[in-house]
């Protein structure tokens, strides 16, 4: 068990006994659900746009919806994004901009509507078998697309080597003691909530305070035991974990310690000469995800290279390319509460996460139908995958389906709104950054993070630049130069 998880459990226990609950989160302004609803409304009768808009606005989730956005969804549903020169094949509804009215188009709409509504994403599972025909588990379509022969990935806690795929079946060989070559973009574990994270931060702060006030270890252990209902072993483990961090930071000359008010930033340069900037903030992964991508994007712009991101519930780390050190103070200045949203959006636009969400959104908003006249849509989808479809949508002006995919990633999957509040707190002085001096060893709080392996890469966006850099890489390799293995080099610090 990771020690951070132990601390988390202790704090959960403490708050459960006090009867505290996490706040609920309700997604707002989802355009795919709106699209479904508009089709449903149109099936029943002809609507004045104003009237329909006012009905929708009555919902809590859409109270802030703009009429312009509403019209864009109407435009999309009526096939208005197809260009003027084309026969409008798509149209689920008709939308008359002069009369400001809309209604259903054709008799099929009712059938399409009732056979395709729902918000649970339709996952086509690819079954994974070993060569002797044993079923190992399921993976997602997109994950399969990313695999090449010889790739090693984790499934069901074990490592497997990918051999081949036929349709919706993949064949693998079990391999042991090999490091995966495919990062786990796809795992969506339940994140720590912000409220619980803040409580953990507070406990961290309390314990560090007691260290500075020279309380004995025994005193602190008994306090932990009393507050969190943990046993001797657990309480001792927690306190010695904190003590190790305390001693380490003191050695670096740090005067303020990690808490709910202080965000301690480590500057760790590893033995390969790569700078790792580690933010210790227990905000939960949704907020850390958002903050890390925004800072990574800023760092990427400073050094003009890809930046690796590692995120956990209690910290996040940016790993920079070799020999490109940056000044942390400058980096911090690049992100504030005003630009965090655009910076994050810019960073996630070309990630696997958005691509996957886009596929869900395209189904939910009736762009790709699950059931239609008895056709098997998977056939078309195999040939025209989400990536191609998404690239087409990128060329259009604020296409609602793509916009919804972006929104889901930065607001639902991540939490840009709370990240924004955190940065506001920093600007108002209620939270602050504490920058450590450079070190060649990471602090105890960082160990879990470093062993975890990176979770995402903030990539170069431009396909031209991408092709050119791939070309340079391939030519290097052809000439026999050994490239440094950038990924999953296991570092045994523990």
């Amino acid at each position: 068990m990771e020690r951070d998880a132990l601390v988390e459990d202790a704090v959960i226990c403490m708050h459960a006994m006090k009867g505290n609950l996490d706040r609920a989160y309700i997604p707002k302004g989802a355009l795919d659900v709106l699209a479904q609803h508009i089709v449903g409304m149109a099936v029943e009768k002809r609507w004045k746009v104003e009237d329909a808009y006012n009905v929708v606005k009555r919902s809590y989730c859409y109270r802030d919806l703009g009429i312009e956005t509403f019209r864009r969804v109407l435009k999309y549903l009526s096939g208005g994004y197809q260009g003027l020169n084309r026969h409008r094949v798509y149209g689920k509804i008709w939308y008359d901009e002069d009369q400001d009215e809309f209604g259903r188009k054709g008799y099929m709409v009712r059938v399409i509507y009732s056979t395709n509504i729902g918000t649970i994403p339709d996952e086509v599972a690819v079954k994974v078998y070993t060569l002797d025909g044993k079923w190992v588990g399921n993976i997602e379509e997109e994950f399969l697309e990313r695999l090449s022969k010889g790739d090693i990935f984790v499934l069901g806690g074990k490592t497997h080597e990918f051999i081949s795929a036929k349709g919706f079946r993949a064949y693998v060989r079990k391999v042991e003691g090999m490091k995966p070559t495919i990062p786990s973009w796809f795992s969506e574990m339940l994140p720590l909530s912000f409220d619980l994270g803040e409580a953990i931060g507070k406990l961290r702060g309390q314990i560090f305070d007691m260290f500075t006030q020279n309380y004995t270890m025994k005193d602190i252990v008994s306090l932990i035991k009393r507050e969190t209902f943990s046993d001797d072993y657990a309480a001792n483990a927690i306190v010695s974990y904190m003590k190790a961090e305390y001693d380490f930071l003191k050695m670096l000359g740090v005067k303020e310690f990690p808490s709910d008010k202080n965000i301690v930033i480590e500057n760790f340069v590893d033995s390969f000469g790569k700078q790792n900037i580690i933010f210790h903030c227990v905000f939960g992964r949704r907020i850390n995800d958002a903050l890390s991508r925004a800072y990574a994007n800023a760092a990427k712009k400073m050094i003009n290279r890809n930046v690796l991101v590692t995120v956990s519930d209690s910290a996040f780390m940016l790993t920079l390319a070799k020999n490109s050190l940056i000044d942390i103070k400058t980096l911090l200045k690049r992100i504030n509460s005003k630009n965090v949203r655009p910076m994050l959006l810019d960073a996630v636009k070309h990630t696997e996460m958005v691509r996957r969400r886009f596929r869900h959104c395209s189904t939910r908003s009736f762009m790709v139908l699950k059931n239609y006249k008895g056709y098997e849509i998977t056939v078309a989808r195999q040939q025209t995958n989400a990536e191609i479809l998404m690239r087409l949508c990128e060329g259009l002006d604020r296409f609602p389906v793509l916009e919804e995919a972006y929104r889901e990633v930065i607001e639902d999957l991540m939490d840009v709104n709370t990240a924004d509040k955190v940065l506001e707190d920093v600007e108002h002085g209620t939270r602050k950054f504490v920058i450590c001096s450079e070190s060649d060893v990471p602090s105890p709080f960082s160990h879990d993070l470093i062993v975890m392996g990176y979770t995402d890469v903030v990539l170069m966006h431009d396909r031209k630049e991408l092709l050119e850099s791939l070309h340079a890489m391939v030519m290097k390799r052809i000439r026999g130069e050994k490239l440094q293995p950038l990924i999953f080099k296991k570092r045994n610090w523990r």
């Binding site: 994004y81 026969h87 990313r146 090449s148 010889g150 059931n371 087409l392 031209k464 999953f488 570092r491």
Partner: protein, 263 residues
């Protein structure tokens, strides 16, 4: 005139950054697999394709025609997508397509592809030359590639074909796989063979370096393989890059797993 081209052989150029080949001597532009109406077929299956595919295809063709000021364009088959009787939308798009080309004073000719069954009627109506199964231009032999016609081109020096929709998958240094459309060019029995990528943004193509020889669609490539072919990766409208021969690209560049001992 030819400010930006990549030379495949003498007088034969890839017009960067477009998916077209230009034959200097014959003053002819070659384009393959436009698959007009593909988006309509997708819509019939219940997949909505936003934006105008036709506009994107036309851009890839009109831009090089204008910069080269060339008078003839040969479409190497699969002009439209539907095998059977064309839908109204398809007739419309084919006619519009031809009209745009004629407006810029460029005469299209068509080599028959496996999808081109009903298009004959449209072409007759518009008075466009239709070549079945191939077209001979000087020492160049133009075909779609779906038939095995090895006997026909015995005295040709250069062979051009489509049909295969070649693409190449390359992994970057962090393990992410990227796919690009590609031209393939190589030599079979002392003749240069050039395979053109599809122009359609909807039909991305097969990752040739991840398939075995037997999975190729074109009989000629299935027979001889493409190990010694040179791929030219293209991002349409942006850039074209020559890559090392196919035999070097068979592994999509997997970063070798680091064993425990190395640490």
């Amino acid at each position: 005139m030819l400010d930006e081209t990549i030379k495949i052989a003498k007088g034969i150029n890839i017009v960067t950054p477009w998916p077209c080949v230009y034959l200097e001597k014959e003053d002819t532009l070659l384009v393959s697999d436009t698959h007009l109406g593909l988006e309509d077929q997708r819509e019939k299956l219940g997949m909505h394709i936003p934006g105008s595919i036709m506009a994107q295809i036309l851009e890839c063709i009109v831009a090089p025609i204008k910069s080269l000021n060339c008078k003839r364009i040969v479409l190497l088959g699969d002009v439209k997508h539907e095998f059977g009787r064309p839908s109204e939308a398809e007739w419309y798009s084919v006619k519009k397509f031809i009209k745009v080309l004629r407006e810029i004073d460029c005469e299209p000719e068509v080599v028959r592809g496996n999808h081109d069954n009903y298009i004959i009627y449209v072409l007759k109506e518009l008075d466009i030359k239709f070549h079945d199964p191939s077209l001979r231009l000087g020492d160049c032999y133009l075909t779609h590639g779906h038939h095995d016609l090895e006997d026909d081109y015995k005295d040709a020096k250069h062979i051009f074909m489509g049909h295969e929709h070649p693409a190449i998958a390359v992994k970057d240094d962090v393990g992410v796989k990227h796919r690009f459309k590609a031209f393939l060019s190589g030599t079979i029995n002392n003749r240069t063979v050039t395979v053109l990528p599809s122009v359609s943004p909807l039909s991305y193509g097969n990752s040739m370096n991840e398939m075995s020889k037997t999975e190729y669609m074109t009989p000629l490539l299935r027979k001889y393989g493409v190990d010694n072919f040179t791929p030219y990766l293209i991002e349409i409208g942006k850039t074209v890059k020559e890559f090392p021969a196919m035999k070097h690209l068979t592994q999509t560049f997997i970063t070798q797993p680091v064993s425990e001992k190395e640490d």
